[in-house]
Symmetry: D4
C-alpha cells in the first residue's frame, strides 16, 4: 500500500523537492502545506474578507491553512518535520506535537546546531536526520528493506 | 487524495449546485442529505409502515435519514453547514455539533444577519463564509494553494 | 457513582432550577453553561480586550464559553438539552449534536409545537420530554428504579 | 469537579506563580513540567547513567521528562502554553500541538510581538492572552461565571 | 462511495439472497458470516485439530468465525441483523450489541411476534423492518433518495 | 482501586444477590439494570406519556433503560452476563456484544445446556462459569490472588 | 475487500513463503518486517550515522524498523505471530501485545513445546496453529468458507 | 494526583518490593499481576473446573489472569516491565507491546546482557534501567523533580 508522507515545516529551501525527486521510484505519496509564503499568509482575507487587525488577518489565514495541514497529518503514515536556520518555526513544532499525539511515525530533520533546543521533539521521533537524502533512504528502507550503498561502510 | 466534502443544512436554495459546479475541476467528492423535502419527511413511513402519531411518523423518517447523514459526516474531510433565511434549521446546527465533536474541518455558510445567533457554531469552525463561491475558493485553495483573482486587492 | 448531568440550552426560564431542586435527594451532580446572558456575551472582550467588530467580540466570547461547555458535555453521563419558545437556539442544537457524536445519553426537553422542527434531534435522543419534572423522574428512575406515583395510571 | 490545568512552556519568569496565587480561591489543580532547568536537562544521565554524546544525554533526559509532561497534558482539562521573550521554545509549541490533537482546551499566553509567528498556535486556541492575570480571570469565569471588575468598562 | 453492508443473523432462510438480488443495481457491497452451518460449527477442529470436549470444539470454531464476523461488522457502514423463527440466535443479538457499541447504523429485521423480546435491540436500531424487501428499499433510499412506488399511498 | 462490576442479564433468580453477598468483603462495586420487570417494561410510558402501539410503548421504555445500562457497561471493569433457563434473553446477548466491542472483561454465566447456543458469546469471554459462586471466586482471585479452598483438589 | 495480513516474528525459516505461496489464489495482501537480519540490525547507523555504543546502534535501528512494523500491524486485519525454536523473540511477543491492544485478530503460530510459555499470548489469540499451512487454511476459510479436504475426517 | 504504576514481568526476585519500599514516601499506587506462580498457573481450573488437556488448563488460567493484568495496564500511568535472567518471559514482552499500543509511559528494567534481544522493546520505552532503585529515582523525579544525590557526579 502506498506510503503516505506529510512534509511539514520550513518553506525557504528545496528540501521537499530533494525528497520527492529522490523518492520518485518508490510507492510514496507526498502531501505538504501550501508553501507559497504570501498566499499562506493572506489566504484568509483574500477569500473571506479583509480585516483591520493583523491578529484577525492572521487568524483567518491560519485557520484556512489548518484545513489542509490537519488533514495532511491525519492521513499520513509518516510525518517529516523540517527545522531550518531561520525564523521561530513554532508551527513546525506544533505539527510535530500534533503528529506525535496521533501516534504518527515522526521523522525530524534539522541541522546539528538545533539539537539541544529540539531535544523534546527529537525524543518523540522515530528518526532524526540532518539531510533530506537521509529521509529518502529511510523511506526506501521502510518500503523495500534496501540500505544505501554507503551503508556497508557505516555499519562496519 | 480526493477531498471529501459533506454539504449539510438548508435545502431550499441552489447553494449546493453553485458549489459543486464551481468546484467541478477540483479533486473533490460531494455528499449531502436527501434534499427532496417530501421524501425526507416521509421516508420512514413510506418504507416501514404508516404511523398514527406525527411524532413517530417523523421519528422513523429522521432515523432513516440519519443512516445517510451520519455516514456522510463521518466520512468527510470537510463539513460545510449552510444556514438560510427561513425555518429553525436545528438539524443544521446539530450536524455542525456532530461534525465538531468528530474533529472534522467545519465551514459555516450563512448571511451576516445570523452572525450573533450562530456565534457558538462559528467559533467551532475553521471558516465562516457568506457566499457559496467563497466555499469553492476555500476548496480550491486547500487543494491547490491558488487564491482567487480578486485576492490581490483583498490582501492589500 | 454520582450521575453527572449537563443542562444545556435555553437560559430564560427556571427549568434548570426545577430540575436541580426536584433531584436534590438524588446522587446527581449538575453542570451547565454560564446562564448570565450579559456575561456570556461579553466575557471574551471583558477579559481579553475589546474588539471593534461585533463578529470578533462574539467570537472571543463564544470560545471562552466553549472551555466550559465542551468540558461539561464531555464529562457528563446524561446531557439534557432544552429548547424554549424564543430565539434561534442554534447553540442548543449544536450541543445536542456534539453530545450525540460523543455517545452521550441525550434527553431533549421542548414544547410539543417544536416537534417537527426538532425531529432529527429527538431521533438521536434516549428520551424526549416536555416538562422539567419529567427529567427529574427520568433521573430518579435511572438511579433508583422508582417510577412516579402517577405511573400506575399511565401504565395501565 | 476540580478543573485540571496544565501550565506548559517558559520557565524563566514567575508566570506560573502569578496564576497559581491568583487562582488560589478557585477549585483548580495545577500541574507543570519540572521547572528546574538544570535538573530537567540532566535527569536522564543522573538516573540512568552518563553519555558521551550530547545528543543521547539530552535524549535520555527528554524522555524522562516526557513521562511527566504527557501525563500532565493528557489529564488536563485546560492546557496553558506560555511563550516568553527568549529561546526557541519549540517544546512549548510541541506541547500546544500535542494538546490540540487530544482536543484539550488550549490557552496561549504570549507578548504581542510574537503574534505573527504564533498564528497557527493561536488559531488552535480557545483564548489568547498576554498577561497571567488574564488566565486567572479565564479560570474564574469558566468555573464561576464571574467577570473581572474592569469588565464593565471593557464590555461597553 | 460504495455502501458497505453486513448481513448478520439467521442462516436458514433466503433473506440474504432476497436483499442482495434486490439491491444488485445499487452501489452496495455485502458481507456476511459463513452461512454453511456445518462448516461454521466445525471449522475450528477441521483446521486446528480435534477436541474431546464439545465446549472446546465449539470454542475453536467460534473464534475462527470471529475473525470474519468482527472484521465484517467493523468495516460496515450498515449492519443488518435478522432474527428468524427458530433457535436462540444469541449470536445475532451479540452482533447487534457489538455493532451498536461501535456506532454502526443498525437495521433489525424480524417478524412482529418477536417485537417485545427484541425491544432493547430495536431501541438501538435506526430502522426495524419485517421483510428483506424493506431493507432493499432502505438501502435504495439511503443511496439515491428514491422511495418505493407504494410510498405515495403509505405517506398519505 | 475498587473493581467495578456490572451484572447484566437474567432477572428472575437470586444470582445477583448470591454474588453481591459473596463478595461483600471485597473492594467491589456492583451495578445492574433495573430488575423490577414491571417498572422496566413500563418506565417509558409512565414518565413520558402513554402510547397506543405496543411497539412504541416498549421503545420508550427500552430507551430509558438504555440510559442506565449503557452507562453501567461503559463504567465497568468487568461485565458479567447471566443467561437463565427461560425467555429469549436477547438483551443479555446484546449487552455481551456491547461490552465486548468496548473491550470490557466479559464473564458469562449459564447452565451447561446453553453451551452450544452461546458459543460465540463464550468465545468473547475471559471466563465462562455455571454458578454465581464461581463469579465470586473470580472476583476474589482477580483482586487478591486467593484461590478457593477446593482449589487444591481441582488443581491436582 | 482484500484481507490484509501482517506476518510478524521469526525470520530464520521459510514460514512466510509457505503462507504466501499457499494463499496466492486468495484475495489477501501480506506485509511483514524487513527479514534481512543484517539490514534490520544495522539500518539505523547505515542511514543516520554510526554509534560508538551498541545500545544506541541498536536503538536507532529498532526505531527505523518500528516505522514499518507499527504501520504494518495498524493496517492489518489479521496479525500472525510466529515463534520459532531459537532466540528470545521478545519482539514477536511485543508485536502480539501491540496487535492485541489494537483489537486485531491475532493468530499465533508455534511448535507445541512452547505452549506453556506462550499461554498468555495464545489466550489473546483467535487461533493457535502449529504449521503455516493451517494459517493458509484459516485465511481460506475466513474469506471463502471452504474447509480443507482433511476436514471431513477431523470433524467426525 | 496519585501516579499509578503497573509492575509487569519477572516474578522470581524481589524487584517489586525494592521499588514499592523505595517509593513508600511518594504519591504512587502500585498494581501488579498475581505473583504466586502456582496460583497464577492453576487459577482457571481451580475456579472453573479441571481440564484434561494442558493447553486448556493453561488457557483458562491465562484468561482469568488477563482480567487483572489488562485492567492494571489500562489504568496505569506508567508501566514498568522487568525481564529477568531466566525463562522465556514472553508475557512480559506481550505486556510491553500492549502498554505501548495504548500509549502508556513504558519503563523497561533488565540486565545489560539482554540489551540486543530487547532492542525493539527498549525502543518503545521512555526509560531503560538496570536496577529497581533507578525506577524509584524515576518515579521520584517525575513526581517531585528531585534527582538522586549521586546525580551531581553523573551529570558532570
Amino acid at each position: 500500500m502506498t506510503l503516505k508522507v506529510y512534509l511539514s515545516g520550513e518553506i525557504h529551501s528545496d528540501w521537499r523537492e530533494r525528497i520527492t525527486v529522490g523518492a520518485r521510484d518508490l510507492d510514496v505519496s507526498f502531501d505538504a502545506p501550501v508553501t507559497d509564503h504570501g498566499a499562506s499568509d493572506d489566504c484568509g482575507v483574500a477569500i473571506l474578507g479583509a480585516e483591520d487587525q493583523k491578529f484577525w488577518h492572521d487568524h483567518k489565514g491560519a485557520k484556512l491553512n489548518a484545513i489542509r495541514t490537519r488533514r495532511g497529518i491525519e492521513q499520513a503514515d509518516v510525518v517529516v518535520v523540517r527545522f531550518g536556520d531561520k525564523y521561530k518555526q513554532w508551527n513546525a513544532a506544533f505539527d510535530a506535537g500534533y503528529a506525535s499525539a496521533l501516534g504518527k511515525a515522526l521523522v525530524v530533520l534539522h541541522p546539528p546546531e538545533h539539537q539541544h533546543a529540539l531535544k523534546e521533539v527529537d525524543a518523540a521521533a522515530l528518526a532524526v536526520a540532518e539531510e533530506p537524502e537521509q529521509v529518502v533512504e529511510i523511506l526506501r528502507y521502510v518500503l523495500t528493506g534496501a540500505l544505501p550503498d554507503r551503508a556497508a561502510r557505516a555499519a562496519e
